[in-house]
């Protein structure tokens, strides 16, 4: 594999794994959202996000990286390229037993991630790799609705009294502990940018900062002044133990017999 091909695959894994793991976290929420209407809406958005991951895995499959299902379900944690933010649990407990899930964290994480995703897709619109240009346009039409949804939640929680406002602000701070991990293309960053696949990470970060600050300021909220260096560089395959749990759960059935038709 030459440098350009390697760079392309690395970027595709970042795109696919970010969406796949976050959609998994979303699927854990199913049946547990604050009200039934939200359950339906959140689930619909998690499906979009998982659908996007599938499209990226299928692009990798076409490039000969393996079948989409094997890529999603049989790789080891250290082969995953998602940012650590998306693998963080929804709260304590298991989705089937005592899930102490934090809705403020769900709103803050999904909103701030999806704002980043918007910026990243916008940058991919001028990628040197044509399939990424086409796919980005399609994804952005869906993402626009997600952003409106999370904007509304942000407004409601920010304007919902002291407790709710405090919870949301605390969740934003918690998300920002991991936010820096999104703005990394990992060890192959130079090759990714040199191949013209996407604008460099600092450009993306500047655009995200502007968008996220505006969105929060409208609701009297703010980002922290500085973001710590990430505890794990997910783009380099460094992950928390939670990712191993996630992968064990999501591939539990498939691993019984990956060669079988399911």
């Amino acid at each position: 594999m030459n440098t350009d091909q390697k760079a392309l695959q690395e970027l595709l894994f970042q795109l696919a794994d970010d969406d796949f793991i976050l959609a998994y976290r979303g699927s854990e929420w199913l049946g547990l959202a604050p009200h039934i209407e939200e359950d339906v809406a959140f689930s619909s958005m998690s499906q979009d996000t998982m659908g996007h991951a599938v499209m990226f895995y299928e692009m990798l499959e076409e490039l000969g990286a393996g079948t989409a299902d094997d890529l999603a379900q049989l790789r080891k944690p250290q082969d995953f390229r998602n940012a650590v933010l998306v693998e963080r649990p929804n709260g304590t407990g298991h989705y089937m037993e005592q899930p102490n899930y934090d809705w403020a964290y769900a709103v803050a994480r999904t909103y701030l991630y999806e704002l980043f995703k918007w910026v990243r897709l916008e940058a991919l619109m001028s990628s040197s790799y044509q399939p990424l240009v086409q796919i980005s346009r399609k994804m952005m039409t869906e993402l626009r609705y997600h952003l409106m949804h999370w904007q509304t939640w942000t407004k409601h929680l920010a304007g919902g009294g002291q407790e709710s406002r405090d919870r949301l602000q605390a969740a934003i701070a918690q998300v920002c502990q991991d936010i820096e991990g999104l703005f990394s293309f990992g060890p192959h960053a130079d090759a990714i940018v040199a191949a013209g696949l996407i604008a460099d990470a600092s450009t993306l970060k500047a655009r995200w900062l502007e968008k996220a600050s505006d969105a929060l300021a409208k609701n009297g909220l703010a980002l922290p002044d500085a973001f710590p260096a990430p505890s794990h560089d997910g783009r380099a395959g460094e992950h928390t133990e939670q990712l191993a749990d996630v992968l064990n759960t999501l591939s539990e059935v498939y691993r019984l017999d990956p060669a079988a038709a399911w």
Binding site: S27, G31, H35, I36
Partner: protein
């Protein structure tokens, strides 16, 4: 307009539904008609919501990317049906000063029951397939009967629900077929799930009448809320699914089941109806765990509901 007595209103109401007329939420209706509808529709709605939980256990674990997307969409639909039905029930409850919150509290205290099938365990992926294929298949049969119900808002909701349930049954059938045509391990998983679910599927339609139709069923039939008895519906289920189950090379845990040509009906072994009563009163294998899950998520969202309420108050 001349003031009508209660008896005159009742006579006009009955004449209307006997002629195939439909009742809307704001129309006059007898109190017991309203009560029966609230009971039926809130139970149906809550069953959809509680029914999301056993399948939800398999949503994060679905074996392929396509199955993951499909089952997420399916469980989302079930929640959507729950929402649709609770809204119909909410309109009926409004004149009594009751709300969705009351329905949830009734669920938590056990006053409001949900279908027996959703109290059961779903320990393998094959259970997710069997729920989609046979439980949704059974639900389609009972709901199809009610499509022409005299209460128009329920009828409209059911038309939409039935259309989606047909996709669900196909989704379940597709999972089941893949397992049936699969490896030894997959076939065994499927057979175990069918064996496990059989008694619950029989119970789903409710106890047989034994020549004596319950007063509840009688009233619902008089009010054209339903048109077939429990046993009639169960027979329709057998007609449709027993041959298919055998066709896949699967067995049923009832060696006596057969179609009696002379009687024109299926002969089968009754499930344990005492156990049925235990299950629906909240003593099934997963009743407590699933109710706890719903209760916990409801309690944890208290601050979110408060926040939303604060927003509304500010807007006013």
């Amino acid at each position: 307009m001349i003031a009508q007595t209660h008896d005159e209103k009742l006579a006009a109401f009955l004449e209307k539904i006997d002629n195939g007329g439909k009742i809307e939420a704001d129309d006059w209706m007898p109190d017991d008609y309203r009560t029966q509808l609230i009971k039926l529709i809130s139970m149906h709605g809550m069953s959809e919501i509680m029914g999301a939980l056993p399948e939800k256990e398999w949503v994060p674990k679905a074996p392929t990317l396509r199955r993951k997307l499909a089952i997420m969409a399916k469980v989302q639909d079930e929640m959507g049906h729950g929402q649709l039905l609770l809204r119909v029930a909410e309109d009926l409850m409004a004149p009594l000063g009751k709300t969705r919150e009351d329905m949830l509290n009734d669920l938590f205290t056990g006053r409001l029951k949900f279908h027996n099938v959703f109290h059961m365990e779903a320990p393998t992926w094959a259970d997710a397939g069997v729920i989609g294929w046979l439980v949704d298949g059974a639900a389609i049969i009972t709901q199809t009967m009610s499509l022409d119900t005299s209460y128009a808002p329920y009828s409209r909701a059911l038309h939409r629900i039935c259309a989606e349930e047909k996709f669900h049954a196909q989704h379940g059938e597709s999972i089941v077929l893949a397992l049936a045509e699969g490896t030894e391990q997959q076939r065994r998983m499927l057979q175990d799930a069918v064996t496990r679910w059989w008694p619950a599927l029989l119970m789903f339609f409710g106890p047989p009448e034994g020549g004596k139709i319950s007063s509840n069923q009688q009233m619902n039939m008089r009010y054209k809320i339903r048109s077939q008895t429990n046993e009639e519906l169960r027979q329709v289920f057998f007609d449709k699914y027993v041959p298919r189950i055998f066709h896949l090379g699967l067995t049923l845990p009832d060696p006596t089941i057969r179609y009696d040509e002379a009687a024109g009906q299926w002969i089968y072994q009754q499930p344990d109806w005492d156990e049925f009563k235990q299950i629906v009163s909240g003593h099934g294998p997963r009743s407590v765990q699933r109710l706890d899950l719903r209760k916990l998520s409801y309690q944890q969202a208290q601050w979110v509901r408060d926040a939303l309420l604060n927003n509304t108050q500010q807007a006013i």
